[in-house]
Amino acid sequence: MRDAEERTRSDVPAVEVENVSVRFGAIKALSEVSFTVEPGAIHAIIGPNGAGKSTMFNVLSGVYKAAEGQVRFGDARLDQMRPFQIAGIGVARAFQNIALSSTQSVAENLMLGRHHLTKAGFISAGLRLPRATREGRIHGERVAEIAEFLELGDKLHTPVGVLSYGDQKRVEVARALCTEPRLLLLDEPVAGMNAEETARMGEAIHEIRSALGISVVLVEHDMGMVMSLADRVTVLDFGRRIADGTPAEVQAHPEVIRAYLGSGEEINPAEAAVHHPTETPGTHS
């Protein structure tokens, strides 16, 4: 599914998740989960509700501490770093439930993404020193570019709370992009979106990968989107990895089918790909 002229950034290493376990008291939310995200790949994590997908994301962002196992991103050990440090080395996250500041404008929310790339402190900001204003302006321009890219250019100064749900999700993704990441974690980016919005987001994600050459990890329930977009899929159920492979391999995997059918989910991944053909015309199959 890669276009001919794609290239991966040379400084994007693989993400190696090795034997990660997470415990909440007596509950084991993740049990010895391992997978690898190749540099520049779009990697999806799927599974029924309660499988541990968001927990995995929280481990990758440093919010939860793994009881066992390691997460390596190049030389860095993500499992030993605090969230803001992880952001500092280029790992960005768009949250499932929108974690934006509804009272602030889109631009202001996006500028938060530039936090680790800028330096203005209390004094230089409070006194409005030239270097602080200059820094703000330069990064403001970059933020505007990124907003344009996600079709938010005309909404830069709108308070986020006024925007539609779909637009707010785009702001989430845009904010993550503003951190200039090497690894982008998207937690259910099309949850609650209609077909058209889903298609646009899917295009944007594909565009992000091909234009920026970064790795993207995706948690999603929308099977059609996953199957068409992802290079590789890891399937979790009850905190364990039950399958890992290309979309086609995973679709046909008996464990996966049983996990979905057994837990009462109507969506059979094999059927979903047939009944929801890719709604992204003009890209790829």
């Binding site: 909440f24 509950i27 509700n49 309660g50 499988a51 541990g52 997908k53 968001s54 927990t55 929280n58 939860y64 969230p83 803001f84 992880i86 952001a87 500092g88 949250f95 499932q96 439930n97 929108i98 974690a99 934006l100 509804s102 009272t103 202001e108 993404g113 936090h115 680790h116 203005a120 209390f122 900001a125 409070g126 006194l127 409005r128 602080a132 820094e135 703000g136 321009e141 505007a144 570019e145 990124i146 344009e148 890219f149 079709e151 250019g153 100064h157 709108t158 308070p159 709370g161 006024v162 707010q168 904010r175 951190t179 295009e203 565009e207 091909s210 234009a211 905190g239 015309p281 003009g282």
Partner: protein
């Protein structure tokens, strides 16, 4: 569709495409209005009487303190009741550094006798230092634990004020030295000053000092909120986890905002000493902390302008009640029947706090915003610019700050 993606690719690889959407048009009405207000404020001492001038300076004191507290409580969402403590540190340091040694009667006071400007700066720095010492605790505590822990500071502070008699004057307190700036005293003489045939004594001179300091405090805070640190702080309030994931060093910022807030309070403490002319432990107790909290709640948490409005309201009201006791219903003068001015004001504040939190979390600033919008006709989004404490909204982010009870996905 593919066309726009192609151009998007172009842009994201560094091409400057279409310029960003224009910032909202700025009318010239607002700056003109502000200039007018400024002129009026500068000219007032020529016309109004001393009571109002002194009230005005007291309001400026409150403005400085309220703006600082608002940064901590409103913008960053960290409840603190320690305002009284930091006011005390600032005031006491000023009085000690610039006061004279020696004693009147029983008290044996020590003082450094340095220039008042040094005393003022020392007061601010000392409060900052106290804030710095407490900030590691402040940074690690959840918002509400901090509220109670800060209670401790107030009581400990009062105890020290009562005990360390050589510095603080103990229970009776001590008087505060007059402020002066490079030889120009902010008292009644030194030099004798007449502006347009109006004698400029202490009240007039302090008025200008208050204006300058309050204005500086306001501008600094406003600049802060519109820039990188301000954004980080606001995100902290909405979700510490989201802020951290976006690259904000949460504990570092919590510590730093605590430091800034305590320095503001230190300055307010120095100004308080000048306003009253003396310091005494009872002025720095839980009551004053709660009064400042009332100011920022009533003004609208998170809004610098709101803090100003709240400070004006809370400070001026009891004084006005007292002065016009015969006209205000229910309030009686000292010795008369009816509520004392202070009591009446307190009832009002308590009630106002409850009403604000219940019905209009954006406080006075929110109300002001509504009137402004009504005046201009509707226009703009339906969303009121709520500097809200109660954000119903879409910032219920995941992961929540409460301990997880098993995963959801």
């Amino acid at each position: 569709m593919s066309e726009s993606t192609a151009t998007a690719t172009q842009r994201s690889t560094g091409d400057r495409g279409r310029p960003a959407a224009a910032a909202p048009r700025r009318s010239w009405v607002r700056p003109l209005l502000l200039a007018l207000v400024l002129v009026v404020l500068l000219a007032l001492p020529l016309y109004i009487e001393e009571f109002w001038l002194r009230t005005g300076f007291a309001v400026c004191v409150a403005i400085v303190g309220a703006i600082g507290l608002n940064l901590l409580v409103g913008t960053t969402g960290q409840l603190s009741l320690a305002q009284g403590f930091f006011l005390a540190v600032g005031a006491t340091t000023y009085v000690f550094v610039s006061g004279e040694s020696g004693g009147i009667g029983l008290a044996d006071l020590s003082g450094l006798g340095w220039p008042p400007l040094v005393g003022m700066i020392a007061g601010v720095l000392a409060a900052g230092l106290a804030g710095l010492l407490f900030s590691p605790i402040a940074a690690r505590l959840r918002g509400i634990y901090l509220g109670v822990a800060s209670l401790g500071l107030v009581f400990i502070g009062q105890h020290v004020l009562n005990s360390w008699t050589s510095v603080t004057g103990g229970f009776n307190g001590r008087s505060a030295p007059e402020f002066s700036l490079f030889g120009f005293t902010f008292g009644n003489r030194d030099p004798e000053l007449y502006v347009l045939a109006v004698p400029f004594r202490e009240a007039e001179r302090l008025w200008y000092l208050g204006l300058v300091l309050a204005l500086g405090a306001y501008l600094f805070a406003r600049n802060l909120l519109r820039s990188r640190p301000g954004r980080a702080l606001q995100t902290l309030r909405d979700s510490e986890v989201a802020a951290s994931v976006m690259g904000v060093n949460v504990q570092g910022y919590k510590a730093r905002v605590f430091l800034v807030s305590s320095m503001y309070a230190g300055l307010a403490g120095v100004m308080f000493a000048l306003s009253v002319g003396s310091i005494a432990p009872e002025s720095f107790g839980l009551e004053v902390s709660i009064l400042y909290l009332a100011m920022i709640v009533l003004g609208g948490l998170g809004s610098v302008g709101g803090a100003v409005l709240g400070a004006v309201f809370v400070t001026a009201l009891p004084l006005i009640f007292q002065r016009y006791a015969d006209v205000v219903p229910l309030v009686g003068g000292p010795g008369e029947s009816g509520l004392a001015a202070g009591e009446a004001a307190r009832y009002l504040f308590g009630l106002a706090i409850i009403l604000v939190v219940l019905f209009e979390p954006a406080g006075l600033a929110g109300l002001a915003g509504r009137f402004r919008r009504k005046g201009r006709g509707s226009g703009g989004g339906r969303l009121t610019r709520r500097s809200s404490a109660v954000t119903s909204s879409s910032t219920t982010s995941v992961p929540s700050d409460r301990p997880a009870q098993g995963s959801t996905t």
